[in-house]
């Protein structure tokens, strides 16, 4: 069976290598049949990879411990769904998942665009190049199909991974990470074929949006997992692995906005190429960070041998991207302007284009400061001989510095017209949102929210943005004659506004739960004692023991009252003899504040009945999760196919692309 898996992967490798080599030659020498052949090879790579994936899935389901991978990541008693999730639980499996999604996406994208032979000519080899790396790794460096004499039982899965999040969070992230390779391949393909038109953007618009949505949802799932299951009291720790997904998401957000400018005004061609390359390379870097463990142990790659390979691939792709962009920035040999130069210039610093540009700069600046923070331990080791690390204060500073203006811009952008906005018309459209913000800010200040100025600013800006979004819908509805008609005729725009609304909810949730949270960490309680936090009284009444299939533990009983509410929380710990003790947080969702009362408990030192209780009161935190749903809805609206627009675009490219003569 493993032989089938290995053979399938070798076949996949051969196919994508052919797609790369033959495809490049065919594109260079304009050979139609060879190009088609290379395209077929790329298409065939998916079924080949799928066979390999199925072999691994079956082996995992059967707990076939002759597969070293299966023995390392599952055990007999492991429930089936988690045994299957071990597919992406280990290094080799997750490489296979990358390749599977990549060949799937590439195949679909190429198939859908098969009639644009010129565009595909160079896109196919780029896909092939990326796939060659991953299939090479799977065949020769890190194979999931190593055989061994089967042990009695497998090593099993870490208990903290055995929850539904493990089934959803990694695949979502991969669908996002890999999805960013589609616009990259098309963009580099466009550069190679010397096309300056926007065909590549039009073809990949929905792909980018989908990948970006998956990446966003994947991160939200991870945050929710950290908050509820791992339960250290927060949802984002600026951990390198978390940042690994955040950075490409930020750059992809910038890209989504700046392609709109290229479409509407023909500007920013270079910038878009840079962004798409940056997003893709950050995506590969993110995979590398998560897989190689390089930042936990910077002295050796030996913990995971693939670190060096990934770095090499990343370096190669960066150099390739830069080279291609640079090449097309130079004037071509036969005269004429450089391919990537655009004729239009920014007309005014007060225009929608300009606000998009500011938004881009802020997003990229934030992504780069996060990148610096992630790389800092390595950089400082190299420069100072000492590993230093940057943590929450650093990231918070830049999140505020760049994030708050971004929030404001979300409200400003829609209010400003394209090309040039006169200050007078700005004044009119600004009035209501500005007023809303002023009133909100004043009221909040009066209520004492000035204690945390980033929170106050976030709330005030959110009011501004929310008002401007509502106005857009109200005014638009009047102009279009109905909300449904409005949205259905302007899907991208109003889907975008819905996504902005989701981001506003998200920002309010984050501000409330971080700037205005109450933390009590030092409560040492004996049975019957109480403590206070944020107007609630917590009474610790006692302990009960709990027993599970592979753990024992305890739960405390804490009665809480305050603000007219009464509830009981049972924070405790589970003790796994193999792994150690882990917290089981107890959370009360407070309808009054849309927030949570989050508690943790550990046994107090030196007493059998006393506990150390930790309480976090986090207002508005549930808006973060609600925002996730609105985010997906808005993205779907924006992505929804529009028959009228499709026809128009098809007509445009059919007319332009049809070769004359013959």
């Amino acid at each position: 069976m493993a032989a089938l898996g290995r053979a399938a992967l070798l076949l996949a490798f051969g196919l994508v290598a052919y797609a790369l080599v033959a495809g490049s030659y065919a594109a260079w020498r304009r050979r139609r049949r060879l190009a088609l052949s290379a395209q077929n090879a790329l298409l065939a790579a998916f079924p080949a990879t799928l066979v390999a994936a199925l072999v691994l899935i079956v082996a995992l389901a059967r707990r076939d411990f002759t597969f070293a991978y299966v023995a390392e990541h599952t055990s007999r008693k492991l429930p089936l769904q988690y045994a299957l999730s071990a597919f992406w639980g280990g290094q080799e499996g997750s490489l296979l998942l990358w390749l599977l999604v990549l060949t799937g996406y590439a195949g679909l994208a190429v198939w859908l665009n098969r009639r644009s032979r010129e565009l595909m000519a160079w896109t196919v080899p780029i896909f092939g190049l990326i796939a060659v790396f991953f299939s090479f790794m799977l065949c020769f460096v890190s194979s999931p199909f190593h055989q061994q004499p089967p042990p009695v039982d497998g090593a099993g899965m870490v208990p903290s991974l055995q929850n539904p999040y493990m089934l959803a969070h990694p695949p979502m992230l991969y669908l996002g990470y890999v999805g960013l390779s589609v616009p990259f391949a098309f963009g580099m393909g466009a550069l190679l074929s010397g096309r300056t038109d926007e065909r590549w953007i039009v073809a990949t618009r929905r792909w980018t949006l989908a990948a970006w949505t998956f990446l966003g949802v994947g991160q939200l799932l991870g945050a929710h997992w950290a908050y509820t299951e791992i339960g250290w009291g927060g949802y984002y720790a600026w951990d390198p692995v978390e940042n690994a997904a955040f950075m490409p998401w930020l750059v992809a957000t910038a890209f989504l906005h700046s392609v709109m400018i290229q479409e509407k005004r023909g500007m920013l061609k270079v910038w878009n190429m840079v962004l798409v390359a940056l997003a893709f390379n950050l995506s590969v870097f993110g995979t590398f960070l998560t897989r190689s463990g390089v930042l936990d142990s910077i002295h050796s790659f030996s913990k995971s041998s693939i670190g060096a390979w990934f770095l090499g691939f990343l370096a190669f792709m960066v150099v390739l991207s830069v080279a291609l962009i640079y090449w097309r920035l130079r004037p071509p040999k036969d005269g004429g302007p450089p391919l990537l130069r655009s004729k239009t210039k920014l007309e005014s610093l007060v225009s929608r284009e300009a606000t998009f540009l500011y938004n881009n700069l802020l997003l990229v600046a934030l992504a780069l400061t996060i990148l610096w923070g992630v790389l800092y331990p390595i950089v400082s080791q190299v420069l100072h001989g000492q590993t230093r690390s940057l943590s929450k204060p650093y990231y918070d500073f830049f999140l505020h510095t760049f994030g708050l203006p971004l929030l404001l811009l979300m409200g400003l952008g829609p209010l400003v017209a394209w090309r040039r906005a006169s200050l007078r018309s700005l004044g009119k459209t600004f009035l209501v949102p500005f007023g809303a913000a002023l009133v909100t800010g004043g009221v909040l200040l009066g209520l004492g929210f000035g204690s945390a100025w980033p929170g106050l600013l976030a709330y005030t800006f959110s009011a501004f943005v929310a008002a401007s979004i509502v106005l857009e819908f109200v005014r638009g509805r009047a102009a279009a004659g109905g909300i449904f008609r409005l949205v259905s005729r302007n899907r991208r725009r109003y889907g975008g506004y819905l996504v902005h609304a989701a981001i506003v909810l998200f920002a309010i949730g984050v501000a409330g739960s971080s700037a205005y949270q109450t933390i009590r960490e030092d409560a040492h309680l004996r049975p019957g004692q109480t403590m206070e936090a944020a107007g609630y009284t917590f009474t610790y009444t006692g302990l009960t023991g709990v027993k599970g299939p592979n753990y024992t533990g305890f739960r405390t009983i804490v009665s809480v009252s305050g603000h007219g509410e009464h509830f009981t929380l049972r924070p405790g710990q589970n003790n796994d003899p193999l792994q150690g003790a882990s917290f089981v947080a107890s959370i009360y969702h407070d309808p009054r504040t849309l927030g949570d009362v989050f508690t943790r408990a550990q046994p107090a030192v030196g007493s059998k009945t006393a506990i150390d209780l930790q309480v976090f009161v986090k207002p508005l935190i549930n808006l973060i999760w609600a925002a996730g749903f609105l985010f997906v809805f808005g993205a779907l609206v924006a992505m929804w196919p529009d028959a009228v627009e499709q026809r128009r675009l098809a007509a445009r490219y059919a007319a332009g692309a049809a070769p004359a003569g013959i």
Partner: protein
């Protein structure tokens, strides 16, 4: 285990056949040339995009004006230039469509239709 190898063999054969298909179907074609857009066609495409952009900008100006984002003065000020741009783009495109254009000759072929 033999069945596994058989499956692998079948897979490989099917894959190779699929990859070779363009050559098998069309062993001696009239032209094996992968056509690319001639400079003419590229120009036309650029003009078509320009035309679409101008038309879309007009539509958007209209919408922005109706929803009150663009004042009457600004609207009147921008309408003229945008209309002119759209008209120019349409005219340029139409004139293009009337001039004959050529295929790019492959190396070795002689030029002309």
């Amino acid at each position: 285990m033999e069945w596994a190898l058989a499956v692998a063999a079948v897979l490989a054969v099917v894959a190779v056949a699929f990859v070779a298909r363009p050559f098998l179907r069309d062993p001696s074609p009239a032209s094996d040339r992968l056509d690319e857009l001639s400079p003419e066609a590229r120009q036309r495409l650029a003009l078509a995009e320009e035309r679409d952009r101008a038309l879309a900008a007009l539509k958007e100006l209209e919408f922005d004006h109706r929803t009150g984002k663009v004042s009457d003065d600004d609207y009147r000020a921008q309408l003229g230039p945008l209309r002119r741009r759209a008209a120019e783009a349409l005219r340029a495109l139409e004139s293009r469509e009337q001039t004959p254009h050529e295929r790019i000759p492959a190396p070795g072929e002689h030029a002309g239709r």
